[in-house]
């Protein structure tokens, strides 16, 4: 399964901390977003949201992820 993690306010949009998708072939961010409810799809594709693939930051446009991967969606931080 492909695990999606939602940090900060994205957790409220998702309604949960994580979602597991069956994604057999490597998918782009747009393809992953299509599988989610519309407001969550819009929220994770926002330009200010950073994405970490298996714990490493990646560019949204270059992103490909499939089963066995973890994608974390990181909205702007709100400080310490």
């Amino acid at each position: 399964m492909l695990t999606l993690l939602f940090l900060g306010r994205l957790e409220d949009v998702a309604g949960e901390e994580s979602v597991a998708l069956d994604m057999a072939a490597p998918a782009t961010l747009a393809e992953i977003a299509e599988r989610l409810k519309p407001e969550l799809a819009v929220a994770i594709c926002a330009p200010e949201v950073r994405v970490a693939l298996n714990g490493e930051l990646v560019e949204q446009a270059a992103l490909r992820a499939a089963n066995g991967n973890e994608l974390a969606f990181l909205p702007p931080v709100s400080g310490g």
Binding site: L5, L7, G8, R9, D12, A52, N54, G55, E56, L57, A72, L74, P75, P76, V77, S78, G79, G80
Partner: protein, 152 residues
């Protein structure tokens, strides 16, 4: 000496500082900053929660401490940051910098705090009578950062 860690439970800044100062006799000055959950008159905030992202948060804090060490001649750096649920008065963050001369300690501690507030991977939410709500970034935090544009 560099100590950077996340605290998953309450910590005692005084005890941490006492330990940090030990064996640091060559330091002419140790500057420390303790951030705590603020209570304001009439404040409806009952609790504050800080979340982090394991793979990035601590490595980012360590990298920040290394930048401070590369920029100022420090004899020691201490960074402790809470995660989890806190109430007003609880310590959130402790930063301490030891150096031969005080100005380096002041500047390094200031640099560390400005970056922890605006760049470190933490998300904060507050609990009021209406429930939990995430706190959005403040532009003043990013203005604070611009003070350090010359630090590689």
């Amino acid at each position: 000496m560099r100590t950077v860690r996340l605290a998953f439970e309450a910590f005692d800044p005084h005890e941490e500082l006492r330990r940090f100062s030990q064996g640091r006799e060559e330091a002419g000055g140790i500057v420390s900053f303790t951030g705590q959950v603020r209570a304001e008159a009439g404040d409806p905030v009952e609790a504050l929660e800080l979340r982090h992202f394991g793979p990035l948060t601590l490595p980012g804090m360590e990298n920040l401490a290394m930048r401070a060490e590369a920029r100022w001649p420090l004899l020691g750096v201490l960074v402790i940051h809470r995660v989890g649920v806190m109430v007003p008065g609880d310590p959130i963050v402790l930063v301490a910098c030891a150096a031969r001369h005080r100005r380096d300690s002041f500047q390094a501690a200031d640099f560390l705090m400005d970056h922890l507030k605006s760049k470190a991977w933490f998300w904060k939410r507050e609990k009021t009578a209406d429930g939990w709500a995430w706190i959005e970034p403040r532009s003043v935090d990013h203005e604070d950062l611009s003070r350090w544009a010359d630090v590689p």
